[in-house]
Amino acid sequence: MIEVRELTKRFGDRIAVDGISFEVRDGCVLALVGTSGCGKSTTLRMINRLVDPSSGEVMIDGRNALDMPLEQLRLGIGYVIQGIGLFPHWTVARNVATVPRLMGWERERIEARVSELLELFQLDPGEFAGKYPSELSGGQQQRVGVARAIAAEPAVLLMDEPFGALDPITRQRLQAEFAAIQRRRRMTVILVTHDMDEAFKLADTIAVMDEGRILQIASPEELLREPRQGFVRTLVGLDDRALRILSLHTVDEIRREPTGRWEVRGETLIDRESGRAVNGLGAGDTLREAASRIIWEAVETLPVLEAGSVVGEVRADDVWAAGGRRA
């Protein structure tokens, strides 16, 4: 649990962070979004005290961060730095091992952990462990940066644009990898990003910052349904909010009992009413995907498949209702 109260940072006359407060419950992800220079990094850096707050306090699991020994505080907080910041004179393995070594783990345990992490991020240990950062692509470096941050299984993880400067496909894969790890390990995460889609995808709560203040802090859905006037509305974007809301929900949430309409014939699935072959949805697909398929196939209903058999169906009306304004 991270609690931030009235946190303020002045650089000379300039206020970089202006009395912000929020809390992140255990195992939750908070995304800090906002334009360049609005104070996101400074906020993160005050939490692990790379920057000393001008006023306000940071509580981590009920303890005041300002009262904790600096190194002990930081060893317990994973940090993915903006700009990656790998140690150029160390191999990938040595980079990932940084915090475990500082914490004095035994060698076998460190080696096992490094291999496990590299595999987790799809970097073959045999190939990558001995490489130097300059021999890696940008995306590989970012993965090593994230692996290094979570190497000692910190309860708290701060990430400053961890997936920036990546092509969309690599970014989506890394985001998915990260989401899976985060759920499994139940880390408490603060994620800084410029990318609203990333925030919607990964965060339980989103804080929109501008000029050092938090303008709105809410769940992704609430932010989409009720964005405050002004900057938040510009940032969130109203044009495709229905689709964005749909992408927050899964087919499972609105699926109904299947009617007798679907018939499995060998490998294919037939819609008896139209006589056409259809592709079913997966229970974990987002409603955005469901909507896209419904529109593309020009149908009113699609079956939900699980392990080859029909377990339910999704109706277009239900999808539209899920993404629409609430009365």
């Binding site: 692990n48 790379l50 060893l75 730095i81 140690f87 150029p88 940084t98 500082l102």
Partner: protein, 394 residues
């Protein structure tokens, strides 16, 4: 750099004709044609008469000249840099062999006090052959260990040649035999001056450089002072140090027991140390400054203490630049230490100044050549170390 090196290499190894090599071969041939190769003097201090390379010892002269010209031409025409390097070294070896044979021949029926010195033709042709070899080796871009092996081989060959007695008729070797004890003492003295000033320079310079890196106030005070020290002429520095030291010893005579005095090794060591500070401090600062901010921040954020960060991250990353500063200091002090002889500090300067006093140029050379050799050896060793460090992380 990254682009120009492969280009050069391609031009050097593929082309049958090297324009760069002309820069060395043409002056080499001109020097052999225009300047005397040896000079013969009836005794040690009168001025000598020149002997052209083709006039030296019967047989050796003409054949040797022809061979030298062929070698010079071959360095230009050689297809490979490795071949050019080898030809350059062969040129040096041949010039030395001819000089040794010529001296032996001239001295065979000469009066007892006659001397044979090396002439401008010898020195310049040797220098240009050596430059051609060095240039070719540089373009080969050898790995540090290979470079050290080549240097070691050349040094061993040189030592064996000097020990063989082939050059014993040269005045330079006669001076060496007459001054062997002084030479050994001068060598020891020179090492003491260079090593003895390097240690305190590092002990003061490294922490001071780090301090100047972290504190702009320290930088504002220290750097101008070090700049002034660096630009003080060496003779003035040696002289100025004598005064306070002499006063100190006069006040506390017990210091004499530790070898401290107004003249001698102490002021020389202090002066060399002072000259070393600016390069060490400046390069230490530059090395630390070159550590990327994100790297430093990452280290702090991971929970490194300031000391751990310094030891594990900042120092290793700054090391190549710092070592470059140390190399500058060592080479600079090998040269400057010669001046220390003026205030009784020992070293090869002793031979140089004694030779000047006696107008015996070969004695001067006996002091100068080892200084040059030491500087070359230091450069090769440090460059190999710096290169190894940088290659380990591509």
């Amino acid at each position: 750099m990254g682009i120009s090196v492969p280009l050069q290499r391609r031009a050097g190894s593929g082309a049958p004709f090297s324009h760069a090599a002309l820069v060395y071969a043409v002056p080499c041939v001109l020097a052999l044609l225009a300047l005397p190769f040896l000079s013969f003097r009836p005794n040690r201090i009168v001025s000598g008469e020149g002997v052209q390379v083709w006039d030296v010892a019967e047989g050796w002269g003409l054949v040797g000249t022809a061979a030298l010209f062929v070698l010079a031409g071959a360095t230009v025409l050689a297809g490979r840099q490795a071949a050019r390097a080898l030809l350059g070294f062969l040129g040096v070896a041949l010039a030395m062999a001819v000089a040794g044979a010529g001296a032996k021949d001239l001295m065979a029926d000469a009066p007892q006090f006659a001397r044979v010195s090396l002439g401008g033709g010898f020195w310049l042709s040797c220098a240009f052959f050596a430059l051609a070899a060095a240039d070719a080796l540089m373009r080969l871009d050898l790995r540090p260990l290979v470079r050290l092996a080549v240097a070691g081989f050349v040094a061993a060959a040189l030592a064996a040649a000097l020990a063989s007695g082939w050059f014993d008729s040269l005045s330079l070797m006669q001076e060496y035999r007459a001054n062997a004890d002084t030479f050994a003492a001068a060598f020891r003295g020179h090492l003491i001056l260079v090593g003895g000033s390097l240690l305190p320079a590092l002990a003061i310079g490294l922490p001071l450089g780090w301090l100047c890196h972290v504190s702009s106030r320290a930088r504002a005070v220290a750097v101008p002072i070090l700049n002034i020290l660096q630009t003080t002429p060496s003779i003035a520095m040696f002289g100025l140090l004598m005064i306070p030291l002499a006063a100190l010893v006069a006040a506390i005579p017990e210091l004499r027991r530790f070898g401290i005095a107004g003249i001698g090794v102490t002021p020389a060591l202090i002066a060399l140390t002072l000259y070393s500070l600016l390069p060490v401090v400046a390069n230490t600062m530059a090395g630390f400054r070159a550590v990327p901010v994100e790297t430093r921040e990452a280290g702090r954020a991971m929970g490194m203490t300031r000391w751990t960060l310094l030891r594990q991250v900042e120092l290793p990353l700054a090391a190549p630049v710092i070592l470059t500063g140390v190399r500058i200091v060592v080479v600079q002090n090998i040269g400057l230490a010669a001046v220390a002889a003026l205030i009784g500090g020992g070293g090869f300067g002793t031979l140089v100044f004694r030779g000047m006093g006696q107008t015996a140029m070969d004695l001067v050379l006996l002091g100068t050549l080892p200084i040059i050799a030491m500087a070359i050896v230091a450069t090769i060793l440090f460059d190999a170390a710096i290169d190894t460090m940088q290659r380990r992380r591509p």
